[in-house]
Amino acid sequence: MPQLAGRLAKIALLLLALGSLYAVALHKHAQREEIRKAAVALTPGCTEKLGRYGLAPGKKYASSYVMERTGARVELRGYSEEDVRAIERGCNIIDDSQGALATDPWRERWNAKRFIRGNHVSCDHCHRGIGDLQDASGNRLPGSNSLAASWTMGDMYDRFTGLLLPYEMRQMQCYINSSNGYKPNVADDVIRDVTAYSRFLSAALDLKIANHYEEQGIDEIPASATLKQGDDYIRGEVLYNEKCQGCHGLQGIGLEVNGKLVAPAVAGPNSWNLQSRNNFYFVSTILAGFICRNMPPGQESTLQHQDCRDIAFYISNLPRPAGDRQGPVVALQQQLLMRVLPPLLRLTESSPSKSAAPAAETRAQPVLGHAE
């Protein structure tokens, strides 16, 4: 009965394969459960922030921030230990998405890095102040991309996708576009923990659901906020070389010194892709607004609106990866452009008559990092 034997062998193999897949699933689930229960090692930034807001397990929670500013003690529902751990993990992910400060990025950041292409991007490069940027007196800065305000204003209609976008989906879009990555499933702990952190922030700041807050999103700079002299790519290039190149590197590819990231890439393979809202061609107001609000660090609000638009326009013209809905042909084209153009241009532009880049060694101290 060789036919029967063959069949039985096939069946046995099949059952073995399916069984082993299930065993792997059980193991991974157990691993995840174990990580959820493990104590969380906070980054220095998160220790400071969460300590400031008084996050601790308990039956009730009252935000010390609210008490300082209004004198009133607002009692909210308390967080259990599991919730506290989730919030702490979420804070860590925002502050240090790449896991540079973690001993084991898989365990401590849910390996968020695998959903981000390249080793530069971290969430708090755009969501500065770990999603909650304040000035020295504790005022929340308008247009600072606050995650707390994003939560309260979430689930609204999004014109770019043409859908009502749930908060978790908007997070995932960040993974797709701003970090230029693959995407986690919406039920993944990565997304749930960041949501937990955002929700905690909005509780700590006592933000009300669906109210409008100035710190939400980016204060954009339309052309009407300028003298309407037109967005000039060359003007932008000159400004970039003068003010940005020292940290963000030649042609926007970012700068690492002694293995530490000085400033992330704004172009090239480690940067956001063509479908991101940062792309000037897609939305011309967002990147410009971000630059004027936050850059250069330490000299914010020194740039004119037109300057910011010019720099944003210039940066958007530097080659960057294709968006993942643009298909493999465009992806290949962008890969070729990113690999071929920058070295070629560096070669042709290394003539002494052009303004040389300021020496990178003078800016050895990391501007971005986790010692804020």
Binding site: L76, L164, S202, I209, A210
Partner: protein, 183 residues
């Protein structure tokens, strides 16, 4: 094959075939027209239908803050329909019918309770031993409380309940973690 068939086809053969085809088409179209106009079965339209009480709810809970009309407002309206007439709008997920008592979310909850539940969601539930999101809470309700089935997470039957909760939470000016009077 039919042995009686001659070498040449009769001239009316093609005509008969065509007539048959057209007759079939006519029967189908007649059936369609009957189904739409004469059968008495309600025709499905994809727009959100207005239930009585929506206008009062709208003005009472300040849904106009989100606009006169729009994607969000319609979703909230759908949420309203789902909340108060679950058996009709989420018929796929509940075995209850109009005749049953307790056939909608409103039979056990108020919208205020829904809003408080929303801002207190995503927390650890000791009975279940895990953090439970709002969507999962709603799905558990569909499955358990109204004798039904489990909808998918981002299906409108769940999503619009969340948006309704958001709208009411805004009206009540709730913050994240707000406690209701009872707590």
């Amino acid at each position: 094959m039919d042995a009686a068939r001659s070498h040449e086809r009769p001239s009316w053969y093609a005509a008969v075939a065509r007539v048959r085809g057209l007759a079939a088409l006519a029967i189908i179209i007649a059936f369609l027209l009957w189904a739409h106009f004469a059968s008495g079965i309600p025709v499905f339209h994809s727009d959100v239908s207005a239930e009585p009480g929506w206008e009062a709810f709208r003005s009472g809970y300040g849904v106009g803050y989100f606009g006169e009309d729009g994607q969000f407002v319609r979703a909230v309206q759908n949420g309203y329909n789902l909340f108060f007439h679950t058996h009709k709008y989420a018929a796929r997920f509940t075995r209850k019918s109009a005749a049953d008592g307790e056939n909608s979310c409103a039979s056990c909850h108020t919208v205020e309770q829904l809003a408080y539940s929303f801002v207190n969601s995503d927390r650890f539930d000791p009975k279940l031993g895990a953090r439970v999101s709002f969507e999962d809470r709603v799905r558990r309700c569909y499955a358990g409380s109204i004798d039904g089935f489990v909808p998918t997470v981002y299906e409108p039957a769940v999503r619009d309940i969340r948006l309704l909760a958001r709208a009411v939470a805004h009206h009540l000016q709730l913050s994240e973690g707000a406690l209701s009077k009872e707590n």
